[in-house]
Amino acid sequence: MLELVDLTHSYGAYRAIDRINLTVKQGEVVCVVGPSGCGKSTLLRSIAGLIKPSGGAVLLEGRPVESTPDNLAVVFQDYSRSLYPWLSALANVGLPLRRRGLDRKARDEAAMAALTEVGLGAAAAKFPWELSGGMQQRVSIARALAYRPSLLLMDEPFGSVDAQTREELEDLVLRVCAHHGMTILLITHDVDESVYVGDRVVVLSKAPGTVVGDLTVDLPGPRDQIRTRELDAFVKLRADVGRMVRGITTNHEMETR
């Protein structure tokens, strides 16, 4: 459904990503890992049509993406800036649902359900600045999930929550996505997470980012936090990805230092 062909982007003279090729199938969960500053967010923003890549193309259902594709939701890395301070958590989650043609009541209900699922039912009436970092992040996850997009882009969506909540959110996302047949592209730093959540793990090199690894995660579904992580296949994959990332990063660190 999503295809990146030689996707390249430079900020001014600085090249952030370099000829990235990637194909994502309908309903697939693809995790992207890579060193800090390698261009993951840039990649995500190109797919979302928020920046016009300097080269290459993003194809969605075969058609080139000119502006923001329809039926998309994004969880931004900088979640605190992507929540509207003049709206309550509930209203923040409900806002995109206007596009779904829901009336006020239906919107509020859907938003409330999503907030409850991320454990924020009690904080629905609070404003973003009254929420802790992790709570804000969960609001923006709830917003994306409530929207039920066909393509969901997430930029380190679980970075600010505790381990337990993180696992619950991982499972929540997988459940919702499977149920609604969403396609997901998830950026993460957590190698375990990438293997646990992804059907595929894509590894990017240091900046300018290129694809240096593309592993298919062949684990039985539905995943389970305890059992899946105990599988030999999981442990092996995790080690593979870990090695790959580590290899790059080490080289990277060598050069920049």
Partner: protein, 270 residues
């Protein structure tokens, strides 16, 4: 990409950006010719008057006539003196009341009062307070111009992103550093909005100050023309003010572009 391209914008494309000027002129000419109203002469008539009044002098002086020099020099002097004084006072006072709630409380009613008083009505009071004419005129300009700078500065200094200030606090910045390195840069966009407003306001108040008790300058020329029913002259002055304002603003934007580059680029979606 976009940034690079816009920087290299050619002279030709900049001039082409002014397409609205000829379009407006043509529409204006047509409208005035159709209306044939003595109060609204055609721009072509005005242009001729402008040339006669100010630009028919000797080449050695860039065509400027005596009249032009006599009118422009004192006016521009008052304009800049007034604007700079007002800006300095406005920023100083604005920072002070933006950073001190107590001072703001004490001064607020007086400032809000002063802000709503038409400057021309204060002329007799200024006459009573200042013993020289020039001071009165400067006082009128400063009094009229200071408000946008003062208000925007105060507002900008009062509403600095909390996280910026907290960062400064935990690192133990000195008061001066908090002011100079955090508050003022953060308030800069608002201060500049105020300065830009006040610049054209200064032009207006320069004219107002010359309407009363002056025998030179653009405002004096304007009121003379008005009271002599010389409409082409009145319009010549109006156009002159417009062009002056345009030039001042263009220079101001250049300066702003330099100083606020970080802001403009940070706020651009790439």
């Amino acid at each position: 990409m976009t940034r690079v391209r816009s920087k290299r914008k050619s002279f030709a494309s900049r001039v082409a950006g002014l397409w609205i000027v000829p379009v407006t002129l043509v529409l204006w000419e047509l409208a005035t010719r159709l209306a044939t109203q003595p109060y609204f002469p055609a721009p072509s008539t005005i242009a001729v008057r402008i040339q006669e009044l100010w630009f028919s002098g000797p080449l050695t002086r860039g065509l400027l006539t005596d009249e032009a020099i006599e009118a422009f020099a004192p006016s521009l002097g008052r304009l800049f003196a007034g604007w700079i004084l007002a800006s300095a006072a406005g920023i100083l006072l604005g920072v002070a009341i933006g950073r001190s709630a107590r001072l703001a409380d004490y001064l607020d009613p007086m400032l809000q009062f002063g802000r709503a008083v038409p400057p021309p009505l204060l002329v007799p009071i200024f006459f009573a307070l200042f013993q020289i004419g020039m001071a009165t005129q400067l006082a009128i300009i400063v009094f009229g111009v200071i408000w946008p700078v003062l208000l925007n500065t105060a507002d900008g200094c009062k509403t600095v992103d909390r996280q910026y200030l907290e960062t400064a606090r935990v690192f133990g910045f000195s008061r001066a550093d908090v002011l100079w390195r955090v508050v003022i840069p953060a308030a800069m966009p608002k201060i500049f909005a105020g300065l830009r407003l006040s610049l054209s306001l200064a032009l207006i108040l320069m004219v107002v100050s010359e309407l009363i008790g002056s025998t030179s300058g653009i405002g004096y020329g304007l009121i003379t023309a008005q009271q002599n029913f010389l409409f082409a002259d009145v319009w010549a002055y109006i156009v002159l003010l417009g062009v002056l304002g345009f030039l001042l603003n263009a220079s101001f934007l250049l300066l702003e572009g330099r100083i606020l580059a970080w802001h403009q680029r940070a706020r651009r979606t790439i």
